[in-house]
């Protein structure tokens, strides 16, 4: 099990690279074909063009879709962040490892239920309430599906948080709010912002729950879905590439922020 020497690991290295290639092939292909000038999507690529970007951005629906997507992302980032941070902190402060573990596991439940089931369950609930499908309903769905990931990432990042610093401040006479604003918040800010960016990325990418709850409104993924179902159109690749870039920036920023160890 504990092998010595690097020679033996060639096979293992190739395996890891092959798996990563498999995971990233779709991303690479999408970006590559967004610049290919033949609409036939086959190799060899004859020439390069930016036409697909022009035709993707010429879609009149795109402005509405982007606006709605940004609204939803902002709501999920702020809502998920506030509730998620409070929860992650509350769990950390709890006495008793088993209670902590149980709460944490329970908070992950929405991540293991298929999104289809969450989407239709929310749609049924809103119908019972008499609430018309729309952006607000979708926003609630977005917060729900991003919370497990926000809590998970915050929990990992706050585990090393040193409560004694805050307690020292309290013992020296700082009121709770003051201790929170002056000591806790500056220490956890990178983790919290990181979690917010993660929530925004999840919201940006969310399609299934949105699809069942947004009604006739458009979001970027709903627009992309409509185009995809209509058939092969290289401007989808252009739109998808822009979309991927936004997602990658958010995700990488989120993970970098988490890395800067706060405490």
């Amino acid at each position: 099990m504990v092998t010595s020497g690097q020679r033996r690991h060639y096979g293992a290295g190739i395996f890891v690279l092959a798996v990563l290639l498999y995971l990233y092939a779709p991303v690479v292909v999408t970006v590559l074909f967004s610049f290919a000038d033949s609409p036939r999507l086959s190799l060899p690529i004859q020439g390069l063009t930016l036409d697909w970007y022009a035709s993707a951005l010429a879609n009149p629906l795109i402005v509405t879709a982007l606006r709605n997507t940004l609204i939803l992302a902002a709501i999920s980032a702020v809502g998920g962040c506030l509730a998620g941070t409070a929860f992650a902190f509350g769990v950390l402060k709890l006495q008793g490892l088993r209670l902590r573990q149980a709460l944490l596991t329970a908070s992950l439940l929405p991540a293991v239920v298929p999104l289809l089931v969450i989407g239709i369950a929310l749609a049924v609930f809103f119908r019972f309430l008499g609430s018309q499908p729309g952006l607000l309903n979708a926003a609630i769905g977005h917060i729900l599906v991003s919370l497990p990931f926000v809590i998970l990432s915050l929990n990992a990042r706050l585990e090393t948080f040193d409560f004694s610093v805050v307690e020292a401040a309290r013992d020296l006479g700082a009121p709770p709010m003051r201790a929170f604003l002056d000591i806790t918040l500056p220490l956890i800010r990178p983790s919290v912002v990181g979690a917010g960016l993660l929530a925004a990325a999840l919201s940006l990418d969310e399609f299934i729950v949105t699809w069942f709850n947004v009604g006739t409104q458009l979001t970027a993924p709903v627009l992309v879905w409509g185009l995809m179902r209509r058939g092969v159109d290289p401007s989808i690749n252009a739109l998808a590439t822009l979309f991927l870039m936004a997602l990658l920036i958010l995700i990488i920023a989120s993970s970098q922020l988490g890395r800067r160890k706060s405490a």
Partner: protein, 297 residues
């Protein structure tokens, strides 16, 4: 012990009074989950016993929807196919995830964080886009077929690559693999290298180490990964819709159509969802029992 620690440990009473706010901190997420997760799930369950009448839903108590599912050979075929695709997907994904986690933990320890980051980035990068891209790769005139033709390996495009169960499984494995690595890798992180080294210094053979340390420690993670992968694969409807074609239709498509299709029937869709989730959970439970029995040694 730092002075801050000393102060904190001396003054226990104010410390515990600081915990008064804990319920308040847990309340927002707790309330949100109750209102928008637990109650909607219950609503869905209740709805499965109601009846659809045209565009309206009539609140009664009827087993009509369940009877319709039980008596229809079409639903049975699609449900069985969904379970089959889910099981095959999990059976491919979990061993790959296990091997990857093992290599990250014990062979490429220094690169493990980087590999984990790459897995997470792929997990969160464009659900729809990644599915659609497989159509570009596997399509009749797609990347693989056109490359093979260009190289002179084949005369006619390989048909089964796209709009088939094969395409669905290839796509689902790619979607779910990063998610499957997380629990397995986290379980393996708990295995201390020292344990293994001490055991092997004491003369334990490799196979013995695998059997007594690696597998028992990693098993909970493997079980979780298997359950996730199976359930999420069986519940996907976008993948079969975009790459599955007519022979790749899965129960998710049928359920989604009951809610947004032309012949919508919400109670039937709700019943189908519960039947599917119950079947999957039952199978996961049975497989867990079998694995526990096999690994009793």
């Amino acid at each position: 012990m730092s002075s801050a620690d000393a102060v904190a440990s001396m003054s226990t009473p104010p410390r515990s009074s600081g915990r008064g706010g804990v319920p308040l901190m847990l309340a927002p997420v707790g309330g949100f989950y109750l209102l928008f997760f637990v109650i909607p799930m219950c609503s869905l369950f209740v709805l499965s016993f109601w009846r659809a009448q045209g565009f309206d839903i009539v609140p009664t108590f009827t087993l009509d929807s369940y009877a319709k599912i039980a008596s229809s050979p079409l639903y049975r075929i699609i449900l069985l196919r969904t379970i089959g695709v889910g099981l095959v997907t999990a059976a491919i994904t979990v061993p790959i995830a296990f091997a990857l986690s093992y290599l990250m933990r014990f062979v490429f320890e220094r690169r493990a964080q980087l590999i984990l980051q790459l897995l997470l980035i792929s997990l969160f990068s464009g659900y729809l886009v990644r599915i659609y891209a497989w159509r570009t790769i596997l399509g009749k005139q797609g990347l693989l077929n056109s490359t093979f033709t260009w190289l002179g390996l084949i005369d006619a495009p390989i048909e089964f690559l796209i709009y088939s169960r094969f395409a669905v499984i290839v796509t689902l494995v790619g979607l779910l693999l990063p998610l499957a690595v997380l629990p397995i890798y986290s379980a393996m992180s708990n295995i201390s290298r020292d344990h293994l080294e001490i055991a092997s210094d004491l003369g334990s053979r490799r196979l013995y180490l695998v059997r007594t340390i690696l597998i028992p420690m990693a098993l909970p993670g493997v079980n979780t990964a298997f359950a996730f992968t199976f359930l999420l694969a069986a519940g996907d409807f976008v993948t079969p819709n975009l790459v599955g074609g007519s022979q790749g239709i899965m129960i998710g498509n049928v359920i989604a159509d009951q809610f947004r299709g032309t012949g919508a029937n919400w109670p039937l869709g709700a019943a189908l969802a519960f039947v599917t989730v119950s079947c999957v959970m039952l199978i996961v439970w049975a497989i867990n029992r079998v694995i526990r029995w096999v690994t009793r040694w």
